[in-house]
């Protein structure tokens, strides 16, 4: 175990030279390379982070824009829906009012036609009855219808109670109305019948009333005694009217059912 001090000195120098050499050929370059790589990595990370931030900002911007567009679209859709609904209601109301008008007009027309038909029927029926009666009476008993009516009035006068006769007597001017033309003979017969059965000497007046059609009436003030085919015709007309009303109601029911079906169908289509 010995120390060669010359070798020691040389080794010290050698070691220091080696330190210097390794510093320049090993530590320095390697450390610098690692630092450069770390810088580059950091730079890339920063760049990536910046791009990520930019992308995030862009994403948020697009998201907000999309939300605004969706809100606007919803508002426009809602407005269009409301407008369409109100327009539908308006059109429905118009159609309903139109249908109501037409129905009312049709009913009025139907009523008018019904009235006109009833009047015409009544007149034609009365005339038919009158002709029929006249012909039947003439054929069967050789009697005129007008004469039978005069006699019928006479028979009614006979059937009056005494107090009724009294009322006729004190009621003012006596007037005999007929639906047909009275000749003098029948006027005389009527005058005779009135004076005889009422006990009234007054001369009755005569007038022709087309409304009576086929009938005869004695009026005095507010009192009236009459026979007329119109009485029978009134009953016939009532039956006929009832029948027509029944048919009309059936028709109206059918029509309203058809309308409500159509409305339901329209509502289902629109919803």
């Amino acid at each position: 175990m010995q120390i060669d001090w010359l070798t020691v000195a040389a080794q010290i120098v050698n070691f220091l030279v080696l330190v210097w050499l390794l510093k320049h050929f090993l530590y320095g370059p390697v450390t610098a390379a690692m630092a450069r790589r770390e810088d580059r990595i950091a730079e890339r990370v920063n760049s990536a982070r910046e791009r990520e931030d930019a992308a995030e900002r862009e994403r948020e911007r697009l998201h907000e824009r999309m939300e605004r567009l969706e809100d606007r679209r919803d508002a426009v859709l809602e407005q269009a829906r409301e407008e369409a609904e109100s327009e539908k209601q308006r059109l429905l109301e118009e159609a309903r009012a139109d249908v109501d008008d037409k129905r009312e007009h049709w009913r009025q027309q139907l009523r008018d036609e019904q009235d006109a038909f009833a009047k015409q029927l009544r007149r034609q029926t009365a005339e038919g009855f009158a002709d029929l009666a006249r012909k039947a009476l003439s054929d069967l008993a050789d009697v005129r219808l007008e004469d039978r009516m005069v006699e019928t009035l006479g028979a009614r006068l006979v059937g009056l109670a005494e107090d009724e006769r009294e009322q006729f007597r004190g009621a003012g001017e006596l007037v005999v109305s007929t639906g047909f033309e009275l000749d003098d003979e029948r006027r005389a017969r009527l005058t005779e019948l009135v004076q005889e059965h009422l006990g009234d000497d007054r001369q009755p007046g005569f007038e022709q009333d087309p409304e009576l059609v086929c009938g005869i009436a004695l009026t005095a003030g507010g009192r009236r005694l009459a026979w007329s085919l119109a009485d029978y015709l009134d009953g016939f007309e009532r039956k006929l009217t009832a029948h027509l009303d029944h048919r009309q109601r059936e028709s109206a029911d059918t029509e309203s059912k058809t309308e409500s079906d159509a409305e339901r169908e329209t509502a289902a289509t629109s919803s």
């Binding site: 080794q11 010290i12 530590y27 390379a33």
Partner: protein, 225 residues
């Protein structure tokens, strides 16, 4: 039997001579410097690097981490000195696998030179970090009575550094030499493997102790008034 490579003289001119210690030291220096130059002349900074560059980076990073762990300071300023201690001793010891090679660390002259370098580096780093007064003050603490003991400690640990490394490496070489003469097969190889392990451990111990001494001189007493 040759115990130290100092005794093998290769060239002599008057008082000057070149022995095996110096020659093998130069060989080690040549290998280290040449290898480093070959690898680091084409360093790449991209993500794809060569295996050799990767090896060097792992080595440098490992050294830095060790220095940082021991000193709790930035390893940059200590890396050349401590790192070179470790790399030189480790390489010198590992090459003992090569037949005919004698590790220069098996020479007390070499280990003494290295220990003297540490002995010098400790006050240099201490003065650099704490100033001359701040550094010298640590010799009279906790009391001036400790001054001689501190000085003795300083010297003795330097001697210990030198002798520890020398003893370990020289003994490994000597044991192998003795075993070869006694049992030429198998045993010397096992002992040489053990010598490799010892060589690496000694390099690590030498470098870490040097770092501990330097760190204790430069920063361990930062909490002092």
């Amino acid at each position: 039997m040759t115990i130290s490579p100092d005794q093998i003289l290769l060239w002599q001119w008057g008082p000057l001579h070149i022995n095996a210690t110096l020659a093998y030291t130069w060989l080690v220096m040549l290998l280290l410097t040449g290898g480093s130059w070959l690898i680091t002349r084409r360093l790449r900074t991209g993500p794809d690097i060569s295996r050799w560059q990767n090896l060097l980076e792992v080595l440098v990073t490992g050294l830095k981490d060790q220095i940082r762990d021991v000193s709790r300071q930035d390893p940059g300023q200590y890396l050349p000195f401590v790192g070179t201690l470790f790399i030189f001793i480790a390489t010198a010891n590992l090459l003992s696998l090569v037949p005919g090679y004698m590790p220069p660390t098996g020479s007390l002259s070499t280990t003494t030179a290295l220990a003297l370098c540490v002995l010098t580096a400790v006050p240099l780093y201490g003065v650099l970090h704490r100033g001359p007064i701040g550094y010298l003050r640590r010799y009279v603490q906790p009391t001036p009575l400790m001054l001689p003991f501190n000085l003795i400690g300083e010297l003795s640990r330097t001697v210990a550094l030198a002798v520890r490394l020398y003893g370990n490496i020289m003994s490994g070489t000597v044991i192998v030499g003795i075993l070869i003469s006694l049992t030429p097969f198998l045993f010397p190889i096992v002992m040489q493997l053990l010598g490799l392990l010892t060589g690496m451990i000694q390099a690590y111990i030498f470098a870490v102790l040097a770092m501990v001494y330097i760190a204790s001189a430069s920063s361990a007493q930062k909490g002092e008034p």
